[in-house]
């Protein structure tokens, strides 16, 4: 749109983590007074790219130019020094302090004569000025803790303005906003644009990209898969770039799953859902739970296993052929649950692998009366799992879990649940952060388990994985079930359409 050199130019950026190539020769531009949308599914590389710009991590290869001067950014402080403001998804604020204090914390206004006394009047005045520039009427003297999420975000943006940033990165800013707050945010972002800032808007909501941005960049699997001006493309074009051409996904022979119902979820209500949800899961079935980030998939699973409170509804588990009502926290003891973030709640990192694997079924190894643990049996079981899943450990079952690679850690978690021999498996992003080889192994394992009669609920952000594994897919959008896709109808385009909200399945 503007002529002349771009404010920011990232060129040839490469970044690899153990086992994964996060960014592969990505080049990216952002211009002053323009909003560029950075799009792609989870794990496509958007966060990594921005973390590099924000000084959180360093690229293996590639250069960054600001105003055509090459810069090296080694820390968030240096990024700030170069005029980059990174507004994260999780707002950074000081709850008990005022808006003005939050905005100016990095350089507080001081009294002309006493440089250690804070000049609150000046701070309030200036804060009001910046907020007005953004079109907001938030009172500078109010405590940030009492503001809504949307307002806190605006305070952060005002902070970026106040420190004089020229490049502002917004990371998924609308995931927790209401409709009205979104509108307000858009106005604020447009004000920023009018101030001549170069704005990078990371999102997976295409509607926002189309409405707000001037240009866009699409990342997939760490590579650039499209860029251009918004007015020159349609939504379908972008969607195609995000999920790729309908490359002949191996048409997996969909098994006719006519098994009995293993789990029935009826009218479960919870704060995150806009409506109550119901579905069934059959024996031997892989039920995919699809939707974009923020659609409520993880929340649904956490609610039915009782980790988060539910407000209503009931669960039924098949026991000896008939469905029995069961409270949520009891369901957990009948399922295997592989969580989204293995480091947070999936593994005991400092413990050896064998203790990790047996953790879910300790009762099996304990003597009847005194509950002594038969370590020999535990080791036997762990070794068996290590072998059957081909888990690469440095020193066998005694290696500490933290020494394993991502893929192998994930396999340990699988082993942990398989050890319990559950009939129902809840998998939340089972191949996230796992290298290609391990991904294939895990996918194969999931299919084998289903063939063996286990019922599997699969959450994945990777559309290919969802398509190739699921027998049936529930699509969530905005906290409710947008549709169910079965058998042969499952393909990339269909899933994306439902998740993004095209009207009607048969449009």
């Amino acid at each position: 749109m503007n002529g002349g050199a771009p404010k920011l130019r990232m060129s040839g950026i490469c970044k690899a983590f153990p086992g994964i190539r996060a960014l592969d020769d990505v080049s990216f531009e952002s211009r002053a007074g323009e909003i560029v949308g950075l799009v792609g599914v989870n794990g496509a590389g958007k966060s990594t790219l921005m973390n590099i710009l924000g000084g959180v991590t360093q690229p293996d290869k590639g250069k960054i130019f600001i105003d055509e001067d090459e810069v090296a950014i080694h820390s968030p402080k240096e990024a700030a020094h170069h005029g980059v403001s990174f507004i994260h998804q999780e707002p950074q604020f000081f709850a008990s302090q005022t808006v003005a204090e939050n905005i100016f914390i990095s350089h507080l206004f001081t009294h002309p004569r006493f440089p250690f006394i804070v000049d609150k009047k000046a701070a309030n005045r200036e804060a009001r000025r910046h907020l007005e520039t953004l079109g907001s009427d938030i009172e500078p003297k109010s405590k940030v803790g009492s503001l809504s999420v949307g307002e806190r975000q605006i305070v952060e943006i005002a902070r970026a303005l106040a420190v004089g940033s020229q490049i502002v990165i917004l990371d998924e800013p609308t995931s927790s906003l209401s409709f009205k707050e979104k509108e307000t945010l858009f106005n604020v972002v447009n004000s920023l644009k009018r101030e001549g800032k170069a704005i990078i808007y990371i999102t997976h909501f295409l509607d926002e990209v189309l409405e707000l941005c001037d240009t866009f960049v699409v990342l997939r699997n760490g590579q650039l898969h499209g860029q251009g001006a918004i007015r020159e493309v349609t939504k379908e074009d972008i969607v195609r770039m995000i999920i790729g051409r309908n490359v002949a996904v191996e048409s997996v022979a969909r098994r006719e799953v006519k098994g009995d119902v293993a789990l029935k979820v009826e009218k479960v209500r919870s704060p995150q859902f806009s409506r109550d949800l119901s579905f069934v899961l059959r024996r031997g079935e892989i039920l995919g739970l699809w939707g974009l980030m923020g659609s409520g998939r993880t929340e649904l699973v956490r609610a039915i296993v009782g980790l988060d409170p539910i407000e209503g509804g009931s669960l039924f588990l098949a026991v000896d052929g008939s469905l029995v009502a069961i409270p949520p926290h009891r369901l957990l003891s009948h399922c295997g649950y592989i969580t989204e973030n293995r480091h947070a709640d999936g593994l005991f990192l400092t413990q050896p692998v064998w203790r990790n694997i047996t953790a879910t079924a300790l009762g099996r190894y304990a003597s009847k009366v005194l509950r002594f643990l038969n370590v020999g049996k535990e080791l036997e079981a762990s070794t068996a799992h290590i072998e059957s899943l081909r888990i690469a450990t440095g020193q066998g079952p005694h290696s500490r879990a933290e020494t394993l690679s991502g893929g192998n850690q994930q396999k340990v978690i699988f082993a942990k649940w398989l050890n319990r021999q559950p009939t129902i498996l809840l998998l939340d992003e089972p191949t996230r952060g796992v290298d290609v080889g391990a991904k294939m192994e895990i996918s194969g394992l999931i299919r084998t388990l289903a063939r063996g009669g286990a019922s599997i609920l699969l959450i994945s952000s990777e559309v290919e994985e969802m398509v190739s594994l699921s027998d049936r897919v529930l699509v969530l959008r905005g906290g409710e079930i947008a549709g169910t896709v079965e058998g042969a109808d499952i393909n990339n385009a269909m899933l994306m359409r439902l998740a993004l909200g095209e009207e009607g399945l048969n449009a």
Partner: protein, 307 residues
């Protein structure tokens, strides 16, 4: 809700004791109360700052003792020397604790717990474990009364409170303390000099603890093995009751900590004027602290972050 509850409780207690005990609402009783409160007020003021940053300092009682010991040791000299000695003790101890917690990243509770013991031991060594008079110069100072009524110790502690409240609410340093207590990570990212501020906070609590010991030796004219003993826990109680959260980021010296100290002293004093066995008080104090921290955790505990 809780914010005003404390003051309502305070008022109610004053009323209660005034009614059920004749000697409670007298000038002499209140003089006693204000003097008893001084020492705790000073130390608690400094502690408030540290707790706002999210740390804790349980060595202040021993620092008070050490400072009093230094006053005793400088008894032969002019009171200026004694005062300087006490303050240097506070600064030194504060710097040391601050260094260990802020720059070496050690756990503030256990580190200051260990230091509490070490400083007490040093003081015992210096004083031989017995009580000593502290000399004319300084105790004479302790007898000075302004307007014939207000003892100098009271004024000093009041001044300390006022100064620290001003520091907290009006200076950059104070703003930094709150920021660090609210979110140390965010503060660090936004350029707040976290380490230096924490070091400063510990220095302040060290100095306040030292001044408390100084005042105690001034007023009593002597130093005993009870000087400062157990004061740290009373101070923590007062600060928490006064509204400063254990999680950091919230609280103030005036009116919060002031009211907290007052509450504890009044309960102890009130029970005394009623003739209640003095041994009820420690038990009651403990229960009150327990309730205070329970309410604090209800109000302010941060939800565990999820993946």
């Amino acid at each position: 809700m809780l914010d005003y509850g404390l003051y309502v409780l305070l008022a109610a207690l004053i009323l209660l004791f005034g009614i059920i005990s004749h000697s409670f609402l007298t000038i002499s009783n209140w003089t006693q109360i204000s003097i008893a409160a001084c020492f705790l007020l000073t130390a608690s003021a400094g502690l408030t700052l540290v707790m706002i940053t999210g740390c804790i300092d349980v060595s202040i009682g021993s620092i008070a003792y050490l400072a009093a010991a230094s006053v005793y040791l400088t008894a032969g000299y002019s009171f200026v020397v004694s005062i300087l000695a006490a303050i240097s003790v506070g600064v030194g101890a504060g710097l040391f604790s601050g260094f260990l917690v802020s720059y070496l990243g050690m756990n503030s509770l256990l580190t200051t717990l260990g230091l509490m013991i070490a400083y007490r031991g040093i003081s015992l060594l210096l004083t031989g474990g017995t009580m000593h008079p502290v000399g004319e110069a300084i105790s004479g100072l302790g007898n000075v009364e302004f307007f014939g009524v207000l003892p100098v110790v009271f004024l000093v502690s009041l001044a300390a409170m006022v100064i620290l409240q001003i520091v907290l609410s009006q200076t950059k340093f104070g703003a930094y303390c709150y920021a660090i207590g609210n979110s140390e990570g965010a503060a660090e990212k936004l350029g707040v000099p976290v380490k230096a501020v924490k070091l400063g906070a510990f220095c302040i609590s060290g100095v306040c603890g030292a001044i408390s010991g100084l005042l105690s030796s001034m007023y009593l004219g002597e130093i005993t093995t009870f000087t400062g003993r157990g004061m740290e826990f009373q101070a923590v109680a007062a600060v928490v009751i006064g509204g400063t959260s254990l999680f950091g980021g919230k609280g103030n010296v005036i009116p919060g900590t002031f009211a907290g100290v007052l509450l504890l002293i009044i309960i102890s004093n009130g029970l005394g004027t009623r003739g209640v066995s003095p041994y009820v008080y420690p038990f009651v104090a403990g229960v009150i602290i327990f309730i205070a921290i329970y309410l604090d955790s209800l109000k302010n505990s941060r939800p565990l972050a999820r993946g």
